[in-house]
């Protein structure tokens, strides 16, 4: 039975979805959703859902009950239930939960992202049925005629009923055999995202925040496309190392920049842990575009061409503008791979550029 409330609830979710979609650019730019992320969902504050009314501006005052000196602070969250005990459940700002899947769908709709085309022929249905055995019961449509006949023949021979001059074999109920199947779990599509970031002195907090926001959305989208997803984080200045997520966003080093070090480590990770036959691989590299020398850039290009590109679905390079960076590297990459569809580069001037950058990275559907 469909409850009446289900209809109203669906309508409410639809409205929520519409609001999130409308304000998606703002949510992306501000990056406020990241801190509100749970395991499978994000809680989004939506002040606009409740209907406006004439009411008093909040001065925050209210009446409470309990012990305590005048002037002593109350715990956060206390004192929320005071004042008018209204009949309505959720009055002012509303926190709604949106699953990451739904969020990805909204992102996909808004940016018109194509679904990812799986790479290669490894991509099989994660579960498929296969006739692999024989059973005594089953639907008549799956009756195994030859085996049934053989069994009937054997029975008639054994019991002496079989007459070679009149070779009529009548299968009994117990002679019948049926095809049976088993469901095979094929290895599910797996993907790994390898984030690389330049943490040299020229990458400031704002730049890192942009990387953080962008990677959140890249993550969200790719997670909606693959069942299993792993992430690796590599930081580099003149040397590269693999770190955990926390360190990735907060580490700050100084000194020079050798991008090749990161690419070297990335290539090694792929070789050791993520064989391309089992994994869809998405390396993303963010830096401000400065590199140690032209020579190192050449090494990077060579490494990409020989060791990384043949194994990955797409290689993304995001150049975040900083006050110190020259922004040279993106130009170099573009020049080295003018027609390579697997190399996608994008320029992020500031937070407002994140949306376009995401679209560039994910717009190819690879």
């Amino acid at each position: 039975m469909v409850h009446r409330i289900d209809i109203d609830h669906a309508r409410f979710r639809q409205i929520v979805r519409g609001r999130v979609k409308r304000d998606l650019a703002r949510y992306i730019t501000h990056g406020e959703l990241i801190g509100r992320r749970g395991k499978e969902s994000v809680s989004i504050p939506l002040p606009q859902v409740s209907l406006p009314r004439f009411r008093f501006g909040e001065n925050g005052k209210g009446v409470g009950q309990g012990p305590g000196e005048e002037g002593s602070p109350m715990q956060p969250g206390e004192g929320d239930g005071s004042g008018q005990a209204g009949a309505d459940a959720a009055e002012h700002t509303l926190e709604v939960e949106v699953t990451l899947e739904e969020l990805a769908a909204i992102l996909g709709e808004e940016l018109e992202l194509p679904n990812i085309e799986p790479r290669g022929e490894r991509e099989v249905d994660s579960a498929h049925d296969r006739f692999s055995g024989i059973s005594n019961v089953g639907p008549e449509g799956l009756r195994h005629f030859r085996r049934t006949f053989r069994r009937a023949l054997r029975r008639e021979l054994a019991s002496g009923q079989y007459d070679p001059r009149n070779p009529i074999v009548v299968p009994h109920r117990e002679d019948r055999l049926y095809k049976s199947w088993t469901t095979r779990e094929a290895p599910e599509s797996r993907a790994v995202i390898i984030y690389m970031m330049d943490v040299s002195g020229s990458m400031g907090n704002e730049q890192k925040e942009i990387v953080r926001i962008e990677s959140f959305w890249l993550d969200t989208w790719l997670r909606s496309q693959y069942k299993n997803i792993e992430t690796c984080y590599i930081v580099h200045d003149a040397a590269a190392k693999e770190v955990d997520q926390e360190t990735f966003y907060h580490l700050r080093e100084s000194g020079g920049t050798k991008i090749s070090s990161a690419y070297e480590l990335c290539a090694r990770l792929i070789d050791e842990r993520y064989p391309p036959s089992d994994w869809n691989i998405y390396p993303f590299h963010f830096s401000d575009g400065d590199n140690w020398s032209g020579k190192d850039t050449e090494r990077c290009v060579a490494m990409l061409r020989e060791r990384i590109l043949p194994k990955v679905n797409q290689f993304g390079y995001g150049q975040v503008k900083s006050a110190y960076g020259t922004g040279q590297f993106k130009g170099d990459l573009d020049a080295a791979f003018p027609d390579e569809p697997r190399v996608v580069t994008s320029d992020v001037q500031n937070r407002d550029g994140i949306l376009d950058s995401i679209k560039t990275f994910l717009g190819k559907g690879r």
Binding site: D8, V49, G62, Q65, M74, G81
Partner: protein, 497 residues
Amino acid sequence: MTLTPELRAIKERVEAFARDYGLDFFETHYEMIDHESMNEIAAYGGFPTRYPHWRHGMSYEHYSKGYQYGLQKISELVINNDPCYAYLMRSNSTLDQKMVMAHVYGHSDFFKCNLWFKNSNRKMVDQMANHGVRIRRHVEQVGVDEVERFIDLCLSLENLVDLNNLYVASDHKTREAEDSGRGDVSVRKLRSKGYMDRYINPPELIEAERERLREAKATPQRVPAQPTRDVLGFLLEHAPLKGWQRDVLGMIRAEALYFAPQAMTKIMNEGWASYWHSKLMTECLLEDHELIDYAEMHAAVLGTQPGQLNPYKLGLELWRDIEDRWNRGRHGSAFDACDDMAAKHDWDTGAMAGRDKIFEIRTVMHDVSFIDAFLTEDFCREQQLFVFQPNSRSGQNEIGSRDFDEVKQQLLFSMTNMGNPIIEVVEANHRNRGELYLLHRWEGHDLQFDEAAETLKNVCAIWGRPVHIETRDEGRGRLITFDGERVESEDITPTFA
């Protein structure tokens, strides 16, 4: 599902004891439902057949999330109706059900006897179903989006009703007055046979009367004649609405008026029900072995988070305080004038008038008058009431003051007009251009201006012409106008002092 035989027996016992104590309630029907239905019905404000709207879906999400996460459980749901309907959660223990029933008879008595409920529709269950059917029919005829949009407009204004209307029995206004204003005036003649007409209705007199009426019609009448707080009622009568829109607006107003007394008596009503469940349980109904569980349940109902106001708790304590004061005669000028602490402490006239007093109060008062009359300084101190406010630097709430006057004032403010600003329709033909002029009777608290502007847009969408609201911004007069395209705000000299 109806009650099990065991619960039916309990119901009868509870009912008999409640009646013995003098409670006067409607016949009360109980329904056993599971938590999903409970959340659903609560989302519909207690009426499963209510009209469809996304706001109910929003409440539902709120309730079911709260239930899933174990944050809250709705334990009682009781509907002001004759017969009174109450819902019991199926998963509750028998003891739970017993306590809920005892609680429900308190509510049922309050609904029946409190004067503010006097004119509320006692067949609201039917009425709500009726509203649901009508709105569904409008949806079929004009489309779900259009109806929903219009309901949104109405709900945005649903707090603009005149609570004094609760004392007006019949709320059906005819549109006759307006209709008769069209066309030329007609003078009512006395009945007469044709040959007598010249004498009974002398032509010169008729002509003079016609002249007088014409003149009266030519002098512009102020609409409304008096400023009115019943903004919804005013719009219902005067806004250029289509038939179905008028119907929807009327229903929203009727529902707002139906729910108003419950919001106006929240503290009294919950306190009253808690008083009676406590009395009935501890004096009549509890088995020995149930005591500990009962104590825990009772504490859960009355528990206050440090720094929160629980209407059940505040109400219950006030009722008990009043009963005690009238039992011992601790009121009136003699008691107040006494300044001997010891004498005051032991004051007891043996009047034993407490029970009568609380029954009297539950009939004639609502929360504002209740708090105003009976929240004493002693009570305020014993109950550790305080005013909190955000710290100007940290933004975190802190205990601002335990001063009795401040506490009382803050409490009363939050309940006056159900915590809503008082807004009146002053003029429907402002600047002689059919513009609607609203007045916020400012009493020291500013409106939330952004939201006021949004709400004003909704008023305009119903009124169809530019709308204004006069209010104040920290004491200085301010006029906010929405002309259909832009919101403008200008400083003015307040017309209302």
